[in-house]
């Protein structure tokens, strides 16, 4: 008998058949991605992630949100996708075990797409979710980046961490399925990883190299520092994560029998990338970073550029240079109600930050400046930071020096705080933002960028009276009685008299 090669497929099947094997893998990945979207946990966390981001975008506005620091904003996109990543880990793992669980291995064993190619498809099935995460990250960060008050620089590598974490979760799910082919394995892994993450986050003295093996490495503390002082090896970390995203499925595919040259090459390259990333993100030049942070803390002037406005100098770290106009507007406003030489005295507004302890979980309060006429401004702006800065400016206008402002008493304290809040477009809001006390007339401390001012109950009472009167009227009296109001021996009762508010009941223990 003769053997003849026959053309087997009919016209429909022939038209549908892939020209390249990779097309089948991609089609399968698309199929698996759609199946993932039907898993309750994935759908729920996807919805939660989207909803949370939408809420952040819609509900934000006003306050410090209008003045985002982009080198921190990029990092803030990293933790939100983690729940989605965990859901994907479990569901991709379950999907990769489906054939084994349902007994279809034999059925599919004789099909064109090999088991290892199915493994590739499972790993790729997380890719649309990583792309979606990247889109959400881009929208969230982009929204902040286009804020007129945005300062600093975002890092593409930091922005990539969220999407890469999602992709890595899928890769991990696939690898677990191949190494430990039981559904419980992924749940145990997630639980173990969670406990480990809690431990890692609580143990701040872990070696740097160990902390950075985690996909997301947060920096405790809220005070932004110039991006050059962050000391985050973001690029290396992104390379480390990207390497893992290929390495883990690469190992899974090799275990599954896909020992083709392309798979081996990709796995080896991924291993090199992962190793390079892990080594690169290990601390190198930590001493230089510490020195740079100390320089920025102790001698910020060397790193700053200053601009002049109405006789005063405004000195900012380069990334904050765009905020000097906002600072100047506050200085002008506060000074507009001041009298005597304070109305024209040249001030130096100096941006300062304590960068020494950045990343170790402590936000250290800045010590007041000892330089006459120098006012401190921090690295956050907007919201409560504006009246706080105004209080700092007013303290220097009244006391002459920032380190003396914390000890203001009697009339000077009342005058300083009124200058700060009485000239504000929303005086009561500013006043209440400055003094976190329940009652407007009880004793309280008033926040500034450095040390707080202190208000006694009597001073608070006078201030409350002043704030109920038209600002222009009070400002005229302040200017007219400037010398008395800023004299160290003027009492709170005398302030009431000078500014024409009802006399105090009793005496003020703050009076000199």
């Amino acid at each position: 008998m003769s053997t003849t090669v026959l053309r087997p497929a009919g016209p429909v099947a022939a038209a549908a058949r892939a020209a390249y094997p990779v097309a089948a893998v991609l089609a399968l990945a698309r199929f698996e991605a759609r199946e993932l979207s039907r898993q309750i946990s994935v759908a729920a966390y996807l919805l939660l992630y989207t909803g949370y981001t939408a809420y952040v975008l819609i509900a934000r506005g006003g306050g410090m949100a209008d003045f985002p620091v982009l080198q921190d904003a990029d990092r803030n996109t990293q933790t939100a996708p983690l729940l989605l990543a965990i859901a994907l880990l479990a569901c991709v793992n379950r999907a990769a075990l489906r054939s084994r669980r349902c007994g279809t291995d034999e059925q599919f064993g004789g099909l064109v797409v090999r088991p290892w190619q199915r493994t590739v498809a499972h790993a790729l099935s997380a890719a649309p979710y990583a792309v979606y995460t990247a889109l959400v990250v881009a929208v969230r960060f982009g929204r902040q980046a286009v804020e007129p008050g945005a300062v600093g620089h975002g890092s593409l590598a930091e922005l990539a961490v969220g999407p890469l974490s999602v992709l890595l979760a899928g890769a991990l799910g696939v690898l677990l399925a191949r190494l430990v082919p039981y559904s419980m394995a992924s749940l145990l892994f997630v639980a173990t990883a969670y406990v480990l993450a809690i431990y890692l986050s609580a143990t701040t003295d872990l070696p740097h190299g160990v902390r950075w093996l985690s996909p997301v490495v947060s920096e405790p503390g809220e005070t932004p520092v110039p991006s050059a002082l962050l000391g985050r090896p973001a690029g290396w970390h992104a390379l480390y994560l990207a390497g893992l995203c290929v390495l883990l499925p690469g190992i899974a595919v090799l275990v599954d029998g896909g020992r083709t040259r392309a798979v081996k090459t990709a796995t080896v390259l991924a291993l090199l990338a992962t190793a390079a990333g892990a080594i690169g993100q290990a601390p190198g030049g930590a001493g230089a970073l510490r020195a740079a942070r100390a320089r920025a803390t102790d001698r910020p002037a060397a790193l700053q550029t200053c601009v002049a406005h109405a006789g005063s100098a405004y000195c900012a770290f380069p990334e904050w240079a765009g905020q000097t106009d906002d600072w100047a507007a506050v200085v002008d406003r506060v000074r507009s109600a001041a009298g005597g030489t304070a109305a024209t005295t040249a001030l130096t507004v100096r941006q300062r930050v304590d960068a020494r302890g950045h990343g170790d979980g402590t936000d250290i309060a800045l010590a007041p400046s000892t330089t006459p006429g120098e006012v401190t401004v921090g690295t956050r702006w907007g919201g409560d930071r504006v009246p706080e800065f105004a209080a700092g400016v007013a303290g220097v206008l009244v006391a002459g020096r920032e380190d003396a402002a914390g000890e203001l008493c009697g009339a000077r304290a009342v005058t300083a705080v009124w200058l700060a809040v009485g000239t504000d477009p929303h005086p009561w809001a500013a006043y209440r933002a400055l003094r976190p006390a329940e009652d407007d007339v009880e004793a309280a401390s008033v926040d500034t960028p450095t040390e707080p001012l202190t208000l006694s109950a009597a001073q608070s009472e006078v201030l409350a009276q002043l704030l109920r009167r038209p600002a222009a009227t009070v400002a005229a009296r302040v200017r007219a009685h400037w010398n008395e109001l800023t004299a160290p021996r003027t009492t709170t009762a005398e302030v009431a008299h000078l500014l024409a508010v009802p006399p105090l009941r009793g005496t003020d223990n703050c009076d000199p």
Binding site: S2, L6, V113
Partner: protein, 287 residues
């Protein structure tokens, strides 16, 4: 007739057991029945021909492709539709999704064309109406048909069916026969079954496998002819018969070596099959 599937010297061992022992056969277009007792090696042979299992020795071609090479195996797999004996199911998939999934594994990647193909094969097995129903909600017979539809997807030139009628009711079996007969027109179908009547009704060729070896290869008529003059009727069970059973008329139908002057009956394919098996047992036990 043109040979479409050709196997020579296929041998496969499971530990110390020789599941296939130098199996050679030639398949042509049409439906070929594969008969044999349990443990004869039928499923192993089908798995080898479906390229699920590689043989220890021997070679075979499927529609001209040699599965012994990587490229040939890939080409051969594009032509094969395989329905295993106990197909698995993904319970959360719908019938459509399950067949669609298998179609992707067969490299049918053009989404529109693939979906048309999936609808077509589901219609062909009579499940067009329930294609949106989840597998876990389908009856056993329906699931079997979904698995058959999956095997049919891509219009394979070589269809390997391992006991596909197990669990089907008589009506479903009749429909199944219609379907397989249609498929056998212009394509090669290898049907493993214990149902000799399926073979008698569907197959143009039949292979009998026993103890891992081919004991018969020919047409159903030739297999039936093996029993010519060896089936007889008697009022009592003939002790010399290889097999004998009381029929509905009360008489005994005996298969074996009839005595002189026996009342001979028209043989069936099953009679021929029994005699082939009997001969193979005798061969195995012969010193």
């Amino acid at each position: 007739m043109t040979t479409t599937v050709s196997a020579t010297g296929l041998t496969l061992r499971y530990g110390g057991t020789r599941a296939l022992d130098d199996v050679s056969l030639q398949l042509t277009r049409g439906v070929t029945g594969l008969l044999g007792p349990n443990g004869a090696g039928k499923t192993t042979l089908l798995r080898v021909l479906a390229t699920v299992l590689p043989p220890d020795r021997g070679e075979f071609t499927v529609l001209g492709h040699d599965p012994g090479t990587a490229g040939g195996r890939r080409s051969a797999r594009r032509t094969i539709g395989y329905l295993p004996q106990s197909p698995g199911f993904h319970p959360d998939f719908t019938a459509f999704e399950f067949v669609d999934y298998v179609a992707i594994l067969k490299e049918l990647t053009d989404r529109g064309a693939r979906h048309r193909e999936v609808r077509r094969v589901l219609e062909e097995v009579g499940l067009g109406e329930v294609r949106g129903r989840r597998m876990k909600r389908l009856s056993g017979g329906m699931r079997q048909r979904v698995a058959l539809a999956a095997a049919l997807a891509g219009d394979p030139g070589f269809l390997v069916l391992d006991e596909p009628t197990v669990g089907l009711d008589p009506e479903q079996r009749m429909r199944f026969r219609e379907l397989v007969a249609r498929r056998g027109e212009g394509r090669t179908v290898l049907l493993s079954t214990h149902q000799t009547e399926d073979v008698a009704m569907l197959c143009h060729r039949v292979v009998v496998l026993a103890e891992g070896r081919v004991r018969f290869e020919g047409t159903p008529a030739e297999l039936t002819a093996r029993a010519a003059g060896r089936v007889w009727r008697s009022t009592e069970r003939d002790p010399g018969a290889r097999a004998g059973w009381r029929t509905g008329t009360g008489d005994f139908r005996n298969v074996g070596h009839p005595p002189e002057g026996a009342d001979l009956l028209e043989p069936t394919l099953e009679d021929g099959y029994l005699l082939v098996l009997d001969a193979s047992r005798a061969e195995v036990t012969a010193p």
